[in-house]
């Protein structure tokens, strides 16, 4: 039921969300993260994501297991895109199915926060006048 993937192809948000629909659940909360055009007033042309794939998949699976331990949720899907992404394209989808929606909202927020802190994926912002690998906060 759970789903953890890295892909170079465009992500179908609906297909991730609808693959995570266990019979005991009544709600799936889905985050559709996509490429922002303006960050702090600076215009991005496109993004390039790269990952340490086997470790990223391991860390994503750990997040799924911990979310299911710590929240009242039944199934989790996480799919992250890699390679070049244009403005508005989906970079990450996180779907959380739960018997009741409250736990799904909380788990989804926790999952994206942890993913951005621990999963070894990096993004490079390409601007009209340069490019830069974005460095996150910390894996603490």
């Amino acid at each position: 039921m759970d789903l953890v993937e890295l892909t170079n192809d465009p992500i179908s948000v609906e297909s991730v969300a609808r693959r995570v629909v266990p019979p005991e659940c009544g709600a799936t909360v889905t985050l559709d993260g996509y490429v922002r055009r303006f960050t702090s007033g600076r215009e991005t042309l496109y993004l390039v994501y790269e990952a340490y794939k086997p470790m990223a998949l391991k860390e994503m699976r750990k997040l799924v297991e911990q979310a299911k331990r710590d929240f009242e949720v039944s199934a989790v899907g996480i799919v992250h895109r890699l390679g070049r992404l244009e403005i508005g394209e989906t970079s990450v989808v996180i779907s959380v199915a739960a018997p009741h929606r409250g736990a799904a909202f909380a788990a989804c927020e926790w999952l994206i926060r942890e993913l951005k802190r621990t999963v070894p994926i990096w993004k490079k912002e390409i601007y009209a006048d340069g490019e830069m690998w974005v460095e996150g906060e910390s894996a603490g």
Binding site: Y52, M55, V92, L115, R117, E135, S138
Partner: protein, 100 residues
């Protein structure tokens, strides 16, 4: 290089070089790959070298990496520095992650 590495990995508990050193592979991503000018390197080191000592050696090889806040892993798990390296181990050195 890749073939040698594969051999070392296959013979995990056997010393593969005459002087008793082990071979490890170090991967770089994003900003650290730019700083190293490579996606990976193969290195020899005495058995049981702590991962933190290996990181210090890498910073000596690639001083530009010191400009970044770095994280590192041994065999796909985040490392603290005290992990002892074995033949065929895979380290990775990278900046704080920025997915999502």
């Amino acid at each position: 290089m890749v073939e040698l590495y594969s051999f070392g990995r296959f013979c995990k508990n056997i010393s593969v070089s005459g002087d008793g050193k082990i071979k490890i592979k170090v991967l770089f991503f994003g900003a650290t790959a730019d700083a190293a000018g490579a996606r990976f390197i193969d290195l020899e080191t005495p058995p049981g070298t702590p991962a933190g000592s290996m990181l210090d050696r890498l910073l000596g090889l690639y001083p530009r990496m010191s400009e970044h806040k770095l994280l590192y892993s041994v065999n796909e798990e985040y490392a603290q520095g005290t992990e002892r390296l074995n033949d065929g181990d895979e380290m990775a050195v990278f900046t704080a992650v920025s997915g999502g």
